[in-house]
Symmetry: C2
Subunit: 473 residues, 2 copies
């Protein structure tokens, strides 16, 4: 059944046929070719390479280059950049690009973006830069963007696109399709480029139902849209936090959802591609915060990164000094039995690690709403048990090691008891600290580990050295 | 423009109108009501509550209950459970459900699922259970599912659904829409329930292009599908790892993509909802592994969790003993100056924390392909600088503290030098270890932290005590 009418096409890109996984997305050799062309001062080649890349790959390319290379690339190719590149690059890189491209050209480029992408870019700018860029955008779009910006940062209102495909509830399938075909021919197509659901609206522009396009296509022309729409749809309030939006999309397997303002009027639509970015961001935030890093600072300059890391390290210094002060209480004991100093980091380290395991599970479970008030006590109890059992096992192992190492049975007993107690504390604290922080409205990811390791260090040193002073000296 | 023909609808659910974010999704009060109804032995009430919940919420409900409560709920309501619940629950809970419901009923339920969801459930079963369940599925679907299962775990082939909406390249828009309308009326609708793109196929069932539904709807009937299709689509090989699939979807803002086998024949379609789950899983895996937890063990029984955590703690014990052995080399030094024992954990702890910061950024950047061979050396160099600068600052601070605390200027100098060296090592190692592991094909998330903290502990103790022995005694 081959057909002569098929227009010749380029062979489609196939991913996964290669053994090097890195080559999915922007390939290393492509980066190399761009660098070579820049090195050879071959402006035409650079422009052609960049122009043929997908905008996401161009964003990745810009991010992977050094500051100097990036500026050079922009010099060569700034006028062949897809506007979407601005919406894709990391904040730090965006700042640099704006400095280099200049606000006027940025304004021009932003004006070509969908409202949600435009908001993405504009919200990263300083107040006066925002005004400058907004000034360059046609009145109608500007109003929409300004409305979006009036919603809180990281809210559904910032995430939504303003262009929504809506039909009144009294239309039928035929009229809807005709409308779509006609508007496609008009000059000012202000409907979204791609959409997945049609929103059926009531007289006050209030959403009364949604219709997936695949259903619309399977329905005969005379059928009314209100007969096939789902009225049990999820409506999202424009002020809802983006983390909650992501949760809803994930939970309900949504691809798009209508957003309403506080009067119930339809103001926009959130689509899955924006939500995927949020899911990524939120997971990244948790990982970073658990690791004691404030933000994704891969692209920041060395000094900015140093400064960002400093504050967390400073907190750690204070808690480390606190733990040392505990050791300081037992100087006389250590002088009499130096083996205690040799062994004491083991107790602290095991407590810290066991606690971190529990903490990680708890922080993640809180983020995904798997840990709630319903099962909190059960989880804390379980972690206490886990700490107790592993504490017992490691007490026996480490007790034997310490006994043999220093040939003192009582030293083995002391470290065994200290191990059990510290692992019980670690289990209990690892589960309770994130729950308590969440209760007080503090992100459990950001502050949990510092509390936890301080506690396991202090308890570890105190119990081990205290028992040592009591039983061994 | 109100219309009397609109059928009366329930008020739609609105999320975000409440101040308690936990109430997005399954509400705590709903869990309470189910528990109350179970407590009152009110079977009818339990069944009604469960039947009215979305399947994702039922899955969450089952996960949040204790083992005893879960079995009781299943007793009451197992025949009103949506089949999709099986595809949504955590693996551990699924095992329990299967034990309780019995394989025969599971087989019946799985037969009702889409092929991708069915594969999701079946791949969790033991070999003999798989055969049992597959036996209950009608021949045609069974073959499709068995083919999916023949692809490697976590590959595109496992993720895809087999039902794809395809049209030959010589059709036009009108014929496509007519075909959709007609097949909707047929009994055995074996096209996907919901789809977002139509795949245009050549004579060998090879995909030659895709058409987003929103474009199909905007195009007039006589236009050929080959005129509006995108031939520059992303084709996914069935053996591609799911992590790479997720990267592609994210990168290209895809909602669905055709999957081909090694002959280039279309075998299925991956949709964004499955990819969102993968993105979640992969982020979860990174978080868990960085925290030293093997798997998401929130729902595991206490003993299973204890066992899973044990191995990591055991590795930590070995490395902690190694670090202690380093201290052991300096027993004589410590005996002469106990202040060294008091201060030594500070140097180790600062190194561990600084290294963890760097490590976290590097592991995450590797996972998101932001860190590649192109910029690896630059990042390692930057981290070395960051370590050096923060090392200098903390050297001054801690040197002064140690001097004043123990009234010994030279002790301050020793800890200052040790701090600088350990933070330099931490920065260098935090960036290089993940890169090296990745190079050797080991997941950097799983093994990085143990190498790192061993190194920063050993270097911290060695340098500080070594300098102490040399300069102070």
């Amino acid at each position: 059944m081959s057909d002569p009418d098929i227009k010749p096409t380029d062979p489609p890109e196939i991913d996964g046929q290669t053994d090097t996984p890195e080559e999915v997305g922007l390939g290393t050799d492509m980066v190399g070719r761009v660098l070579d062309a820049m090195g050879a001062d071959n402006e035409a080649a650079v422009r052609e390479l960049v122009a043929n890349l997908h905008y996401s790959d161009v964003a990745d390319l810009l991010e992977r280059l050094s500051g100097v290379q990036r500026r050079r690339l922009l010099e060569f190719a700034k006028d062949v950049l897809d506007p979407e590149v601005l919406a894709e690059v990391d904040e730090t890189v965006l700042d640099e690009m704006i400095d280099h491209i200049g606000l006027d050209q940025v304004a021009e480029v932003v004006a070509e973006l969908d409202t949600d992408d435009a908001v993405n870019v504009i919200e990263e700018l300083e107040e006066d830069e925002q005004q400058h860029v907004l000034g360059a955008i046609p009145q109608a779009d500007r109003t929409l963007i300004e409305e979006s910006l009036s919603f809180p940062e990281d809210s559904a209102g910032r995430l939504m696109q303003r262009e929504v495909m809506t039909v009144p509830a009294f239309w039928d399938v035929g009229k809807t399709i005709d409308y779509l075909r006609e508007s496609a021919e008009e000059e000012n197509w202000n409907l979204p480029d791609v959409f997945y659901d049609i929103v059926v609206v009531g007289p006050k522009h209030d959403p009364v139902g949604t219709i997936p396009l695949s259903l619309l296509l399977r329905t005969k022309r005379p059928v009314g849209v209100s007969e096939i729409m789902t009225s049990e749809m999820k409506l999202i309030s424009a002020t809802l936090d983006q983390e909650e939006v992501a949760f809803l999309f994930r939970q309900r397997d949504l691809v798009s959802a209508p957003v309403i303002d506080d009067t119930g009027r339809l103001v926009g639509m959130i689509t899955i591609d924006d939500v995927v970015d949020v899911i990524d961001e939120e997971a990244e935030e948790d990982i970073m915060r658990l690791g004691g890093v404030r933000e994704d600072d891969l692209y920041s300059a060395t000094l900015a990164t140093t400064r960002a890391r400093f504050s967390w390290l400073f907190v750690n210094l204070i808690t480390a000094i606190l733990a040392s002060a505990v050791i300081g209480l037992f100087q006389a004991t250590i002088e009499q039995m130096v083996a205690l100093a040799v062994l004491m980091p083991i107790v602290a380290s095991m407590g810290g690690n066991a606690g971190t395991q529990t903490l990680t599970v708890a922080v993640r479970a809180l983020a995904t709403k798997e840990l709630t008030t319903t099962n909190a006590m059960r989880q804390v109890g379980k972690e206490f048990m886990v700490g107790g059992i592993n504490g017992l096992i490691f007490a026996v192992v480490m007790g034997a090691v310490a006994w043999m190492w220093f040939d003192q049975p009582m030293l083995g007993v002391v470290i065994a008891i200290a191990m059990i107690i510290n692992l019980l504390v670690a289990g209990l604290a690892g589960a309770s600290i994130p729950l308590a922080l969440e209760r007080f409205g503090i992100d459990p990811a950001i502050a949990s580990s510092v509390f936890l390791t301080t506690l396991t260090d202090v308890v570890g040193f105190l119990v081990f050295l205290g028992l040592g002073a009591w039983l061994l000296i």
